[in-house]
């Protein structure tokens, strides 16, 4: 092999660069951390099916926001026929409070930053 020093160091630099997430995570010591959700003890069922909510809650919240603000309708009829008050702070956070123990767990984990809290307050937070 010609220029072995340059070739080998080039390959090593490439693999160190592309594996930077591993080094950052390993250095922080939190590599194995997973979100821990504080689930409500007295409720069995979320507004919709939990699996659906996990992937699509943001669409539901945007839908609620637009229905309330633009049409003034505050009643949401879930797919199982139950009716809910369309409110982030009164309905969602009634069970899932404080947000630091529910929303923030996954949102911080996957670095998804919602803009809910630029207007809404977190009633359970200090």
């Amino acid at each position: 092999m010609y220029d072995a020093g340059k070739i080998i160091s080039g390959i090593i630099i490439f693999f160190i660069l592309v594996s930077f997430p591993i080094w950052i995570s390993a250095a922080s010591g939190t590599i194995g951390d997973v979100p821990e959700l504080n689930l409500p003890a007295d409720e069995e069922q979320c507004v919709e099916d939990a699996e659906w909510m996990r992937a699509n809650h943001m669409d539901l919240l945007i839908d609620w926001r637009e229905t309330v603000v633009r049409e003034g309708v505050r009643v949401y009829t879930a797919s199982d026929g139950k009716e809910y008050n369309m409110s982030l702070t009164d309905t969602c956070l009634d069970c899932h409070s404080p947000k630091a123990e529910f929303c923030d767990q996954c949102h911080d984990y996957v670095a998804a930053v919602p803009n809910c809290w630029s207007c809404h307050v977190d009633p359970g937070g200090s």
Binding site: I11, S25, T30
Partner: protein
């Protein structure tokens, strides 16, 4: 026709992943084993190809230059386009790798009124290529949030800039739109221009369709067929610690996305996609143009046995003199 072969190949791959997960429930195979295998093939294949290239000797400096070579002090030389120092080569390579300098020179040759040949700068391919590669880099960087715990602020900063167009929730990323447009252009140019279509092989289309498939599914898992992103990160982090768990309920679109990405990764070392590592090893770009200042000797030159005229004359001096022929040395 070539495009159709490639299209059906990618469509088949998508169907394999879809039926494997949705029909047969082989979630672990598609989420853990195939990505691991693809990563192993990528790493070993990449090293193998690069080392194989490095075994080819480049005895002489053969840069293709676009500027005045360094010669006499009063002749102005182009230190980057015809580099005379290592720094010049570094600058030249950086321009080539980061900005695709030589593609920027792409010219279109045209016959004007069947009388005159004209050359015109054609920067569309350069723009399409540049937009595609930079978008891909930023998108890959954005994906690092799924492999990092905690996610550093600079990653969130890049994501926020990329998602500055907050038209929809979740944000539509500038790079997602840009890469789709660039890939569409890179595909269309192979179909629309007869000259390019003529030289396009199934492998050219295959790489494009595979990338398009990965990107389109990547956009879909964020918008239309949303998947449980927290589950995806649990899976990704588990793979890093060699303790993978496949969470329930990640939608099938994710599995197709990761399967196509795995195929792309495994296909990389055996394909034209190796132009990425290859650009670093281009002798016409990465060598100093100093063949007049420094003598480069071919390393496998062996000592050639020569017989000079002077030696020949010494050998036959008497015979030459005998027939009256002139001699160099009496």
């Amino acid at each position: 026709m070539n495009a159709l072969y490639a299209f059906f190949a990618v469509a088949l791959l998508m169907l394999v992943a879809f039926f494997g997960v949705w029909g047969l429930g082989w979630n672990t195979l598609f989420a853990v084993m195939i990505p691991y295998a693809a990563l192993a093939i990528f790493i070993i294949g990449l090293i193998y190809r690069v080392v194989k290239w490095a075994r080819a000797p480049v005895p002489f400096h053969i840069p293709t230059t676009c500027g005045q070579q360094k010669s006499l002090p009063w002749i102005k030389s182009d230190r980057i386009e015809s580099p005379s120092s290592t720094m010049g080569v570094v600058a030249r390579m950086a321009m080539e790798i980061l900005l695709f300098r030589s593609l920027f020179r792409n010219d279109k040759v045209q016959l004007e009124d069947k009388k005159r040949v004209t050359f015109q700068g054609n920067r569309v391919l350069w723009l399409g290529g540049l937009v595609f590669h930079w978008s891909l880099l930023i998108i890959l960087f954005r994906h690092s949030r799924l492999f990092m715990q905690p996610v550093p602020d600079f990653m969130i900063f890049v994501r926020d800039i990329d998602g500055i167009l907050q038209g929809l929730i979740p944000a539509v990323f500038i790079t997602d739109i840009a890469i789709l447009m660039a890939l569409t252009y890179l595909f269309l140019r192979r179909v629309v221009f007869p000259q390019v279509r003529y030289i396009s092989l199934p492998s050219d289309y295959f790489a494009l369709f595979l990338l398009l498939g990965v990107v389109i599914l990547g956009v879909l898992v964020k918008t239309a067929w949303k998947v449980d992103i927290e589950g995806v990160k649990v899976l990704a982090m588990g793979m890093f610690t060699f303790n993978p768990v496949v969470p329930e309920g990640i939608g099938p679109a994710f599995y197709i996305h990761i399967f196509l990405a795995s195929v792309l990764l495994a296909y990389f070392p055996f394909s034209k996609l190796m132009h990425g590592p290859g650009i670093f090893l281009s002798p016409t770009r990465n060598l100093i143009n100093n063949s007049r200042a420094v003598r480069h000797i071919n390393p496998w030159d062996y000592p050639v046995k020569v017989h000079t005229y002077e030696e020949w004359e010494d050998e036959f001096r008497e015979a030459i003199r005998g027939v009256g022929l002139p001699l160099e040395k009496e």
